[in-house]
Subunit: 207 residues, 2 copies
């Protein structure tokens, strides 16, 4: 589509929005023209929310999650189990696990996974601080909750090698059929994994 | 989902994004965290593109479309047919019609349609300037290209009443089966309209 914009200012704003993931030209135009219909203080509020976040966002010095304080509320919470660390790729994953209400340990945000194709080496990730936390001796278990991809597996293995000397218990989150899914539509690898890693039936239901 | 954000700055930015049409909490979080990974000047560029647009955007004094100049490139173009005005709701519609490459006339952006439910009365729209343009006597035809809704129809009728005294030709864009669509999936009103408003077959194909 060789779309000509009637205004270069409009075109520039649309271009900025199309840089966002999953936002094409048509959606970007709709979003920008929506903002244009708002009054100036609302538009200022929108723009400053993102510049302020970028300028003032702090990262927890323990787990590297985003935080308003030097140590995030989860790491600072004495009610959480500081002997269990859940290793995740990014901040969204922390929120996703928190939303399950099933986890009472703490986190460690890697900031990605090892991916030579994308130029991400172990040195680019928060792995050395994870090793430090484990080597301090207080940690009993590290749960690896990375993506089930080649890169995630590589990173799991790299962390396993780094931590094996400390005698900490290492586990990965279960892979299997999603709750509510039907067996016939599951892929073979997932179904196979869910059979190999079957768990004792306790008589309780999930739904 | 009772999602707790680990940072109030993050929460504020996500809230601003969820005000945009079609952007939910999950998408907003993804977009904000994507921006957070960019460097500060890129984030500044994103934010300023939208504040600059809001502050500096001009609207064509003739057709009310967005423009960098007092008169937009379309209205200023002597190659366009200034005797035909296409009346549309908003700037997106101007771009949509331009993209068809089928129209060489000029435009008039109403800024919405008459909608008592949403508190939009004729006085809120750019109707008086349309009447002025037509009353000047140069205009031969006004094409109404508004939404095919109750509000669009009401607005069409209002404009018809306002312009009828000037003896200008008034037409509406054709309603019918979309190119590439199959008859059996079309709704009755559209199919009925396409039969009533059938056009002579010229031997040319559209696809």
């Amino acid at each position: 589509m060789n779309q000509e914009y009637p205004s270069t200012l409009l075109e520039r704003a649309v271009k900025e929005f199309t840089k966002l993931p999953g936002i094409g030209r048509k959606t970007a135009t709709r979003l920008v023209l929506h903002l244009l219909r708002k009054n100036e203080s609302e538009v200022e509020g929108f723009a400053s929310s993102i510049t302020t976040l970028k300028r003032d966002a702090k990262y927890c010095s323990v787990c590297h999650s985003i935080s308003d304080t030097d140590i995030c509320p989860i790491c600072a919470n004495p009610m959480r189990d500081h002997g269990v660390i859940c290793v995740v790729e990014n901040i969204q994953d922390v929120m996703a696990v928190e939303n399950t209400m099933q986890y009472r340990g703490v986190y460690h945000v890697l900031g990605g996974v090892i991916s030579p194709m994308d130029g991400v080496s172990p040195g680019d990730l928060n792995i050395s601080t994870l090793v430090e936390r484990v080597s301090a001796g207080e940690v009993k278990e590290v749960i690896l909750a990375l993506s089930s991809t080649m890169e995630g597996d590589t990173t799991n293995f790299y962390i396993y090698r780094k931590l094996s000397q400390y005698g900490v218990k290492l586990s990965v989150i279960a892979r299997g059929i999603a709750v509510g899914d039907e067996l016939e539509y599951a892929d073979e690898v997932t179904l196979g994994s869910s059979i190999v890693n079957r768990t004792p039936f306790t008589g309780k239901t999930v739904l």
